[in-house]
Amino acid sequence: MEKNISFTLKVWRQRGPKEKGAFKEYKMQDIPTDTSFLEMLDILNEQLVNKGEEPVVFDHDCREGICGMCSLYVNGHPHGPSTGATTCQLYMRKFKDGDVITVEPWRSAGFPVIRDLMVDRGAYDKIMQAGGYVSINTGGVPDGNAIPISKEKADLAMDAASCIGCGACVAACKNGSAMLFVSAKVSQLALLPQGQVEAARRAKAMLAKMDELGFGNCTNTRACEAECPKCISISNIARLNREFISAKFKD
């Protein structure tokens, strides 16, 4: 049921990558509970602009859970308290009247803050460029349909492919590890015949890039899996481990 709530927002404000940031409090009055979290931030920004203050900078694009841009850490959870949802899919009905809502950027050496709540997730693009593609000729759509793939494999590959590269896994991880993302991107191809050809090279190149960019060592705490908006399973991490270790033993 729709109603209005009032609450306090504590938002991380930081003018630039090198500058010191701090929390700033904003009182929000009478926000309808069917407002989305990002719409609520839009309301805040409109108020700030009207007052002549700088609006809060945050990343967003599709606002329907597919682009992975809305990287906000809300009340101790990447993408906020909802499970299996991105920040743009979070609604104010998840909060109560009088709440204090703390909004922070992803905190990880691999994702430096650009401004306020916006971080540079370019490291993920670099990892993809290192090998997250198929470079052999796989033919056209009819060729794809002519290759038999078991339902089980197809489902696993599809699940892995649902990763939107949002970076919540790194944000949630006490080790700042990007293994859930890398393993999903390796698995979505390694499980299919078209991707298998280059599987070993891909696993080695993407992992080497991840290490080079300063992400941490995975210790299987499973925080990533619990916070991932697409519920990517850590069994992908075991698959990446296996791909990588067997590739290294073959060398």
Binding site: K10, G21, F23, Y73, N75, G76, H77, T102, E104, R107, S108, A109, G110, P112, V113, A172, K174, N175, G176, S177, M179, L207, A208, M210, D211, G214, F215, G216, N217, C218, T219, N220, T221, R222, A223, E225, A226, E227, S233, I234, S235, N236, I237, A238, R239, L240, N241, R242, E243, F244, I245, S246, K248
Partner: protein
């Protein structure tokens, strides 16, 4: 070297050294269990191992595993802290499905080393070390010389002290927590994958770990109980082993 330079390589070293230590704990527990039934039987095991060449080789291998595991634990911890960046979150919440042990492996490991140090003083220094340096007695108890291979007597003497037993229980609890995460995690690290297998591995590891830890804890508890019930128990027991 990929075992040092890549994150999965480092994890593999952690995993294999940890699994090696679990294998050792399994044998150690099985031997201790003999002491629950027969001091004589236990001393036969002690004599068989003692400071014979195969026991020495195994000890050196074991020490190497422990050192590798600890050195890598600290390397990983330092790298992971750095990867986390300099700013910390103001608000953190533990997501469901995250085990407490998995986030505190280093602290648990440090408790394990402290317990281990005490344990080496209690037993190893009195037994194998004494034999290596050519000593003939582990210690003298109420005028009775105890031989370095008389493990049963050392058990009875050490575990008549409630404080010692309490420390051993805490130590073994830390090992239980360490392995409740470490065991399945190690199998996951070497690439044992599958959505159903994660659950199965967790169950198998928890049951296995619980059996090992109960097997270990039984010895100090049994001997403490006996010494509390009968104040002559330790002396009688020690005399019987001579």
């Amino acid at each position: 070297m990929w075992l040092i330079n890549s994150s999965i390589g480092r994890k593999l070293v952690m995993s294999v050294s940890g699994l090696g230590l679990i294998l050792f704990l399994t044998f150690h527990m099985a031997m201790n269990a003999v002491a629950l039934f027969s001091g004589e039987g236990y001393n036969m095991v002690c004599e068989f191992l003692g400071a014979n060449w195969y026991a020495l080789v195994a000890t050196v291998g074991l020490a190497a595993l422990v050192v590798i595991h600890i050195v890598y634990a600290f390397i990983l911890q330092i790298q992971n802290r750095r990867a986390r960046g300099s700013e910390r979150y103001a608000v953190t919440a533990k997501p469901k499905g995250v085990e407490w042990a998995s986030q505190n492996m280093l602290v648990l490991g440090i408790i394990v080393i402290l317990g281990l140090a005490l344990h080496l003083v209690h037993f190893w220094s009195k037994m194998q070390l004494t034999e290596i340096v050519g000593g003939h007695e582990a210690l003298v108890y109420q005028g009775l010389a105890i031989a370095p291979t008389n493990g049963a007597a050392l058990i009875a003497i050490n575990f008549s002290n409630p404080l010692t037993v309490a420390i051993y229980v805490i130590w073994l609890a830390a090992i239980w927590f360490h392995l409740s995460h470490g065991f399945w995690s190690a199998l996951h690290t070497i690439g044992w994958n599958g959505k159903n297998w994660i659950k199965r591995l967790e169950v198998i590891s928890n049951v296995y770990t619980t059996i090992i830890v109960i097997g270990f804890i039984a010895v100090p508890l049994l001997f403490l109980a006996q010494s509390l019930i009968d104040s002559n128990f330790v002396l009688e027991y020690v005399k019987n082993t001579l």
